[in-house]
Amino acid sequence: MTLWLMAGLLFTPLAWAVLTLLTDFSRGRLVTWGGILVQVLVSLGLWLTVARDGGFHYGLGGWQAPLGIELRVDGLAVTFVLLTAVVASACGLHAGVYIDPDKPWHRYFWPLFWFLWSGLNVVWLGGDLFNLYVGLELISLSAVGLVALGGKANALRASLRYLLAALLGSLVYLLGVALMYGQFGTLSIAGVVSWLGVHPVPAGSGLALALMVTGLALKTALFPLHRWLPPAHGIARSPVSALLSALVVKASFYMAARLWLELGEPLGNLAAAQLVGLLGSAAVVWGSWLACRQPQLKQVVAYSSVAQIGYLFLLFPLTYSVSESVSLQAQQGITLQVISHALAKAAMFLAAGNLILSAGSNRVDALTGVSRFLPFSLFSFGLAGVSLMSLPPTGGFAAKWLLLQASLGSGQWWWILVMLIGGLLSAAYVFRIYRASFLESAGPDRFYHPARSLEVIPMILALLALGLGLASDQVLSVMALPFEEGGSP
């Protein structure tokens, strides 16, 4: 059973990529619906299995690590797999209606979409440093392809910037992997950890971790390296932006976080951890500030992503040389932040897409009076915004709460200020959109009304982000599931 679930997870996206490659957009949509169904079922099934039986290692091709590639199927991984299934299917369904089927190049949307999905699954489950690299590239290239789809100059510039950043990030990561392999002679993270368990920490290996984290931070758009993100996320089609912001940046962060959690204690140091935290904080403040100042709706949302990603990097200082419980709180908080940001940001981008579609312009000013005619999408946008503002009962709030507790618990009170200021700034940019939309315009309904299904999808995502806060304990309980070292189906 598990075997089939794994197969479904790893290979159906690839298979669907091929299938959709051979069809045009409309048929691709039909095929995709089927694929989404399969993916959601499989992800759910795996999640349930893990929730019931605990996690396990899965060796591909019958080869165990270190010889072969071993996947690590634990609670966190399957949670993200499920998250991906939810968000990606929402984006897929939305895109099926949103994207104009008559443009010939849109047929390539589906294969890229499915490759992206498969790449994500690779990253969530990956336990092998090099395999993760390939997964990352899979994600990056398909994401670049999606951004560039349609090929206008602006989109091309954005995607080129994105591509170069992604490639550089991957290379730096790969350099780290090279050093790692040189040092430890294995590519499996678990192998490295167990090696470190019996040997003293070797000198010079800190750079490997630093390189890997730096590369990943670049791909995650951590503060000074964030400049590629807003153009790319802002200019892509809304469902694509949603995918990018919700999942793609999370993939690289997820890898960085895993590396840090497994190897940070032996290989990292306090200054680095604080530095990363500081950069994250700077991202929170700077990103939010810029988001407040963007004239274009999707740029606002994109800069908001920069800010929200900043929170994620608080994981580094909050888990380095702190007590077990604080570290756990921080991990839980970051996990929730990832999930809730994924849901909320996807909802936000999709809703923003609807708003742009109906207002006929990307500018914030153009939204004047939209609240009167498009309350549903606006409401979804707002609900998602609530989660970004980390107000209760959203997942964003639960996340922030845990991070606050972790900061207090570890005595690093300065992060608290960051979180509070960040929350307020995010409120500022969210309310800026509200403000524009609530402004009464004298004119009659001049808005295009998108299809109902377009409006429903972001709402569902936003509600999920909202409900996450209420159910966060249950969600997080998966993380604490037993993990059978070396266990295999």
Binding site: L67, L112, S142, K152, A153, P202
Partner: protein, 233 residues
Amino acid sequence: MIRTLRILAITLACVAFTGMLATSIWTIAGNSDPGNLPQLLSENLDRSGVEHPVTAVLLNFRSYDTLLEIGVLVIAGIAGISMAKTASLEDPQLRTADSLLYALQRWFVPLMLVLAGYLLWAGADRPGGAFQAGAVLAATGVLLRLGGVPMEFLRPGLLLRLGLALGFTVFLLVAVASAIAGDAFLAYPPGMTKTLIVVIESVLTLSIAMVLLALFVSAPVNDAEDPEEGSSS
């Protein structure tokens, strides 16, 4: 001034980076732990179905990487052809009247085809394999293309897409088929390993060549007029 400062800063950063990297490499080389991976590998080489360890790693032990790698290629191909013009590839300016090139084409193309085949075959026990073969094949295509051979199948159509997907699909099918047979994924049924790897390699060669060629073709030439596409939505 700013420019000077900037270049100074970048240079410094790069030198520092290089220095750190080199130091780190030096240190690691000094105290590295010789892992048991190569031994493990040579122990398991028999079961891999190919004699050459690199190919074994690529197509058996870490075949998942390879599968995804082909995926990356396909993605690049897709993203590339999504940019391509839909207009005819028959570009009169490209057809060369250069007799040297023409001769080169006549002589080299068959040679290169043979070379590609050899590289593919050699991958089993020597350095070489699908990618090398594919690259040579693609180079052949480039040569033809530069010579003005239209190569209709490179037009973004079903044929091209089939070509792009072929290698990948076969690889994937093999992976799943092995599971249907009751084994793990990407595990080759014992005995058929060699055959399957050869099949995979050959289709991969085709696909790789196709992707590279498609990407080559997709890039617009310098002064081609392109009034319609991309400028409107």
